[in-house]
């Protein structure tokens, strides 16, 4: 048997079910590796001793029928966890301990998993490099001083560095797929309405969606099966028939039609990305699927649309952090003064920037020109996909326009940072599922990902295509443990 932390989720489950490993052994192994990996700064809150206690308790009377029997797991610090501090990567929630559990994490614990701790992320999930977190940057295990992507940067780093066998992130404009791509792992953003948003600190309500991040497609499918559920507590949750994603997983995608959108050939796209995409097309063909050129004509407008809609919703969603009821409060002369000081000191620069953009685009006199127009364009973007899906089953694109960049490289240029999301953002605007799978390395040896975009509620097909491609690609992540030595 290989080293515990090197095992995939599926292997760990098998070993626990076969009683070759106990939950305590597995949990301790991940705790030990996490302890040795503090340099990565992947955790905001560690809950290690409680995790080991829970594992011991599990082993006393193990229920091996569960889908995640005694599996330890760290989760993004955007999910509210009962009695465990939940910060959303922000100073304003630095002292916040929820009395309730998010539906998604509850689904995970209900299947036997054990909380290891809370993973770092960009503040309120606003960022593409994890550099906006109040708790500092996260290191990408691929190389020193490399960003792990964002906003689910702690999550991607932790899975790639094997501090947790699997994790969940949230994706508003690419926050699962881009960090997955930067760290050589698999990340799925499900269809909007597939996973409940109840108990997830909101960024942009009409775009936010939780999803799994894993070392391989099978593990990803399993976690998706656990977290996706209809929830009456979320009015945007959708009651549709969910698949047994693992049981129905197949690498047979013969005859599937895969679309290649010409508009994703953006200006100044690095050759490495262009080549990766071509390779991806070849893999798909190898699997017996058919390649069809398609057009998504409004792609160009996706990023500006996103940067109106998301900040608008965020500016309103974040109004509740006012120092009155919970979280950080700065003293003030009067109520208004207290608000101003609390929010100036409690929110970081990127969050403040987006609150201001959002407030501006919703202001009377500007609403029609910005927010209303953005909503109309959003509809056009969705229509583009609807048209395309009359001809194809899924769409293949690069996940990101580049590999991971260095910490600090883009912090002074927000627009260049925003451009990182150019391939992922349209998917959120259209409410579709998208998956990023590792597909190769660039010249520096950094991982690159390919994105497959599916029809709404068609995660099974998406996972199948990813599964088939994964087999052909046979990607190996180059993790040297540089931070431990």
């Amino acid at each position: 048997m290989s080293e515990i932390t090197k095992q995939s989720l599926s292997e760990l489950i098998k070993n626990i079910k076969d009683k070759k490993l106990s939950s305590t052994e597995v949990t301790k192994a991940f705790v030990e590796r996490s302890e040795k990996s503090k340099k990565l700064n992947a955790y905001v809150t560690e809950d290690f001793s409680a995790a080991i206690d829970k594992a011991k308790k599990f082993d006393q009377n193990p229920n091996l029928d569960l889908k995640l029997p005694g599996i330890p797991m760290a989760v993004k610090d955007l999910f509210c966890t009962k009695n465990v501090k939940t910060t959303a990567g922000s100073k304003i929630l630095n002292n916040f301990i929820p009395t309730y559990e998010s539906t998604v994490t509850q689904n995970i614990w209900n299947e036997g998993a054990i909380l290891l701790g809370k993973l770092n992320c960009d503040e309120f999930a606003m960022g593409s490099s994890n550099e906006t977190s109040f708790f500092g940057c996260v290191q990408n295990p691929i190389d020193k001083d490399l960003v792990p992507g964002g906003s689910s940067g702690g999550s991607s780093s932790a899975v790639a560095a094997q501090l947790t066998p699997i994790t969940i992130g949230t994706d508003t404009g690419g926050s699962i797929r881009q960090p997955a791509s930067f760290t050589g792992i698999v990340g799925l953003k499900p269809t909007y309405g597939s996973c409940s948003r109840y108990g997830i600190v909101a960024f942009a309500s009409s775009l936010d969606q939780a999803g799994p991040m894993a070392q391989n497609v099978r593990d990803c499918a399993l976690l998706h099966e656990v977290i996706s559920s209809y929830d009456e507590k979320d009015s945007t949750s959708i009651d549709f028939k969910r698949n047994n994603y693992v049981k129905e997983l197949t690498n047979n995608i013969k005859g599937k039609k895969i679309g290649i959108p010409k508009e994703y050939r953006v200006d100044a796209m690095p050759k490495e990305i262009e080549d990766l995409w071509k390779k991806g097309i070849d893999y798909v063909k190898d699997c017996g699927a058919e390649i069809i050129d398609i057009s998504l004509p409004h792609t160009n407008y996706a990023l500006p649309t996103y940067y109106i809609v998301a900040p608008a919703e965020a500016s309103s969603n974040l109004a509740r952090y006012d120092g009155v009821k919970y979280g950080f409060r700065a003293d003030g002369e009067n109520l208004i003064d207290m608000y101003e000081k609390t929010r100036s000191e409690g929110f970081g620069a990127e969050v403040q920037r987006r609150i201001m953009i959002g407030t501006y685009v919703l202001s009377s006199g500007y609403y029609d020109a910005y927010y209303l127009k953005a909503q109309k364009v959003r509809k056009l973007i969705k229509n583009d996909f609807d048209e395309a899906y009359k001809k194809v089953d899924a769409i293949l694109t690069p996940s990101t326009p580049s590999s991971a960049f260095k910490i600090g490289e883009k912090t002074n240029d927000p627009v260049s940072m925003y451009l990182n999301d150019i391939f992922t953002v349209p998917v959120n605007l259209a409410g579709l599922p998208g998956i990023s799978i590792p597909a190769g390395h660039d010249a520096k040896g950094y991982p690159l990902g390919l994105q497959i975009i599916g029809k709404a509620f068609d995660e099974q097909n998406l996972l199948n295509i990813a599964y088939a491609m994964e087999e052909k690609i046979n990607f190996k992540n180059k993790i040297t443990d540089w931070w431990i030595k």
């Binding site: 509210c80 939940t86 959303a88 929630l93 916040f96 929820p98 009395t99 309730y100 998010s102 948003r197 109840y198 108990g199 997830i200 600190v201 909101a202 942009a204 309500s205 009409s206 009456e232 507590k233 979320d234 009015s235 945007t236 608008a312 919703e313 500016s315 309103s316 974040l318 109004a319 509740r320 006012d322 009155v324 009821k325 919970y326 109520l335 208004i336 608000y339 407030t359 919703l362 202001s363 009377s364 609403y367 927010y371």
Partner: protein, 487 residues
């Protein structure tokens, strides 16, 4: 024209001004739980004991619409003869305040659940129709308490998230009296429907009052001021009176009116500026992304229509046609459901005319004196009905009935028993009465002679004497008849 007489005008030198009023009534929906959460809405609980995670806007909490509140709003819309919108949208109204936990109020801005409707007012000089612009659902805020501590403000979130209906009238009202009639009518309709209890002391009904003035005969509206959050009809009337005069004085002095939001100071009886148009909040309304548009089917609306009880206007029509009541009597008796039910119970077994008079006259006066509602009446409808039958069949006179009524007000006793116990039965035996009358005539020989010589006015004196001697029990009709014969 008689209409001119009742017109409410403000006179200054040579000018006459008309007052234009529109109301935004905030009516609390009668419902066990809040608009988007399951917390209780019960009035008077300890502060912050009816607050869910959603009401306190904890991170990650999401609103879920309460279907019952939607039904209540639609029913109210039906009662206002209004258009029900099958698709409506909840928007966020963004502003910061300590008692607004989310930092926004969920309301309906562009697409309300109920559109245009109307309310009919019964004014002394006839009926008046007041247009309804819209009705929408929204959340109430919490309550800031400023007077418990010299330095701090306390916040009670029990009200936070309670469902309100904002009912916006067209600027069709022209006087404080019409406002009085309008609010009462609105309240009556909602109470019939069971959609709002209309309890103004508990804040279940409050209004923002928009007032403007214009020279009589002018077509254009003047600039309006909005008087915020007035919580009694009397205060609404006082505020309008003050505000209209203030505006007229400004115009007469050559000033213009600034569009602004004002507050009514009930102690000083004046309105004061709260904020000008320039300082008005920019609420940054946008559709709440946590909620899907609210869609209701025709079947859903039809089912609610079938649950609507007979409303005051229809009931009034029926009372006039079926029971031959005057419009005035009918208006009073249908003003609330309890009164009309009481009336209909009384007349099941007794005379309509007498019942109407007794309820509107004696009963209302007595209840008023004791500050009781009709459902708290010490006299049940059944016993009032018995009393009326005792009058009708001549057992007691109307006058004696008033004595019996007073006894009944002390406790709901059977009037027959009171009559028996107190010996109040009317004397209707002609022989006994003849004897009485003979005695009275004997005792007043001189007056009898005067009467016979033409002083007819003295007849009343004799009736009075007979009644007095009988202790009020003599049957007045018989006394009249026999006296005429004997004299």
């Amino acid at each position: 024209m008689s209409k001119d007489k009742s017109e409410y005008l403000i006179n200054r030198k040579d000018n006459q001004y008309e007052v234009v009023i529109g109301l935004e009534v905030h009516a609390q929906v009668t419902s066990e739980s809040k608009l988007f959460s399951t917390s209780s809405t019960k009035f008077g609980a300890e502060p912050n004991t009816q607050v869910s995670l959603v009401d306190a806007a904890l991170p990650g909490m999401l609103p879920v619409i309460n279907e019952f509140c939607v039904k209540q709003a639609i029913k109210t819309g039906i009662g206002l003869k209004a258009k029900i919108n099958k698709r409506s949208v909840f928007d966020r109204k963004n502003y910061f305040y300590a008692d607004l936990p989310q930092g926004y109020q969920i309301s309906q801005f562009k697409d309300p659940i109920v559109g245009e409707g109307k309310v009919i007012l019964d004014m002394p000089d006839g009926q008046k129709e007041v247009g309804i612009e819209r009705l929408h659902l929204e959340q109430d805020a919490g309550k800031s308490i400023h007077d418990l501590d010299p330095k701090n403000t306390f916040v009670d979130l029990n009200r936070s998230g309670v469902a309100l209906m904002e009912i916006v009238s067209k600027p069709d009202l022209r006087s404080p009296d019409e406002v009085n009639a309008y609010v009462k009518k609105l309240r009556s309709i909602m109470r019939y429907l069971g959609t709002c209890d209309g309890n103004m002391q508990e804040g279940s009904l409050r209004a923002d009052v928009n007032v403007s003035v214009r020279k009589k005969g002018t077509k254009e509206f003047g600039t309006r001021c909005e008087i915020k959050n007035v919580n009694s009809i009397k205060f609404m009337q006082m505020a309008i009176e003050y505000e209209a005069n203030r505006q007229v004085d400004l115009i007469e002095d050559g000033h213009s009116i600034d569009q602004e939001t004002r507050l009514f100071d009930t102690k000083k009886n004046e309105t004061r500026s709260m904020r000008s148009k320039e300082d008005a909040h920019d609420y940054r309304y946008f559709p709440d992304p946590d909620l899907l548009p609210l869609e209701v089917s025709d079947d859903f609306i039809e089912k609610l229509k079938s649950e609507i009880p007979e409303l005051p206007d229809e009931k009034k029509k029926r009372f006039i046609e079926k029971f031959k009541l005057s419009p005035y009597e009918a208006t009073i008796l249908v003003s609330d459901n309890e009164t009309s039910n009481y009336f209909e119970n009384v007349i099941k077994k007794s005379d309509v005319k007498l019942a109407t008079n007794w309820i509107i006259g004696e009963l209302f006066a007595a209840l008023n004196e004791k500050n009781l509602e009709i459902i708290e009446s010490p006299i049940s409808a059944g016993n009032l009905s018995k009393l009326i039958n005792l009058i009708k069949d001549g057992t007691i006179s109307g006058k004696i009935a008033k004595t019996v009524f007073e006894h009944m007000m002390e406790g709901d006793k059977d009037p027959k028993k009171i009559v028996e116990e107190k010996g109040l039965k009317q004397e209707s035996d002609p022989k006994a009465l003849e004897a009485l009358i003979d005695k009275v005539i004997d005792d007043n020989r001189e007056k009898a002679t005067e009467y016979k010589s033409g002083k007819v006015k003295l007849f009343g004196f004799f009736v009075g004497q007979v009644m007095k001697v009988s202790g009020g029990k003599a049957n007045p009709q018989l006394v009249n008849k026999i006296l005429k014969k004997k004299l």
